[in-house]
Symmetry: C2
Subunit: 198 residues, 2 copies
């Protein structure tokens, strides 16, 4: 079984496509996926890389939503676009993901968060959406918030982001197999080809 590191930030739009299909792809291709939340926002700001923000990039952001909608359809699932963007609680959403991956409920949290964001228009890590998600996962919201905002989790988030940058990650999603970097949902298949090519 080949291992792929799946670097992502909740807040990245295209990451919806990967989050929503990676379990099925992994099963089919016999892959093990390591879910690794980091701050793509910090890396992009460090690199002076301005994301899709209207109005100066309206043509590009309109295209992005249309492209995500079409690709979701090709994959066989739904994407209601535009989804709320950019996120108000970007860091919190990802710190909860880090805590969750440490504790074993992270993949469910991330998957549910993305489905609600792109299928129901519910913004990640905002209320009442967050409480509903945590309740469905049988988690205590106050405790989760306290832990997700702890110095330990913040430092792990920063460390993940530093590691990602050092590995050559500059966008979300990024797939890494034995040091080979594949950026973008549309490169997941390239990553798999690459593995089979070795």
């Amino acid at each position: 079984m080949s291992e792929i590191d799946f670097w992502f930030s909740i807040g990245s739009t295209y990451t919806y496509l990967s989050v929503n299909r990676i379990a099925e792809v992994a099963k089919k291709e016999n892959l093990s996926i390591n879910w690794k939340p980091f701050s793509v926002r910090k890396i992009m700001m460090d690199m002076d890389n301005i994301p899709f923000t209207p109005p100066s990039k309206k043509v590009k952001s309109d295209y992005m939503w249309r492209d995500i909608e079409r690709r979701a359809k090709f994959y066989g699932f739904e994407a209601k676009v535009p989804a709320p963007y950019p996120l108000k609680e970007f860091d919190l959403a990802n710190q909860i993901a880090i805590l969750g991956i440490n504790e074993g409920w992270g993949v469910d949290y991330v998957t549910t968060t993305y489905k609600r964001w792109f299928q129901e228009g519910k913004e990640p890590a905002t209320e009442p959406n967050l409480s509903e998600i945590l309740t469905n996962l049988n988690l205590n919201k106050d405790e989760i918030l306290k832990n997700a905002n702890s110095e330990e989790i913040k430092s792990q988030y920063l460390q993940n982001t530093d590691n990602a940058y050092k590995l050559g990650v500059f966008g979300s999603p990024t797939f890494i197999y034995k040091g080979e970097v594949f950026w973008g949902d549309d490169r997941l298949e390239d990553c798999i080809k690459w593995i089979n090519f070795q």
Copy 2:
């Protein structure tokens, strides 16, 4: 036979992949391709969209070359990277393409120009590369340069660029089928799926 408008700028790196494979894809899929040169540089500058330029974006530009190299390999052809970039004679290279498409030798010129750029490291529209290409096409270099720099061709280049922008083009290559925009070499297959989907 479905018609796709293929908007491109000589100077775009990823466009190499499309230029080098589109004839074969078109034949296989029974498509007619309209080659449409425009200035992606002008559109990107108008949109404050900074391309892959070192050093602030070295991680991203290193990735780009690696990605192009890998994708070329998957397609079954070669890409020697990094190729000379950015181009000194960006506009001239594209104005010659416009002239050539008007006169019937444009596709050969663009294809040869890209092959030499990405397989032999020869920069487009610089000497002695340009003279060699035009000689191989049985064209008179002085005449071509005069015509490619005429007000008529410059105005057609600008007009193409305006049209591209109005149609929602912001990058090269872009494929348009009946108003539906697909950006990137990796979206050519999406465009074909889209056509078959209608």
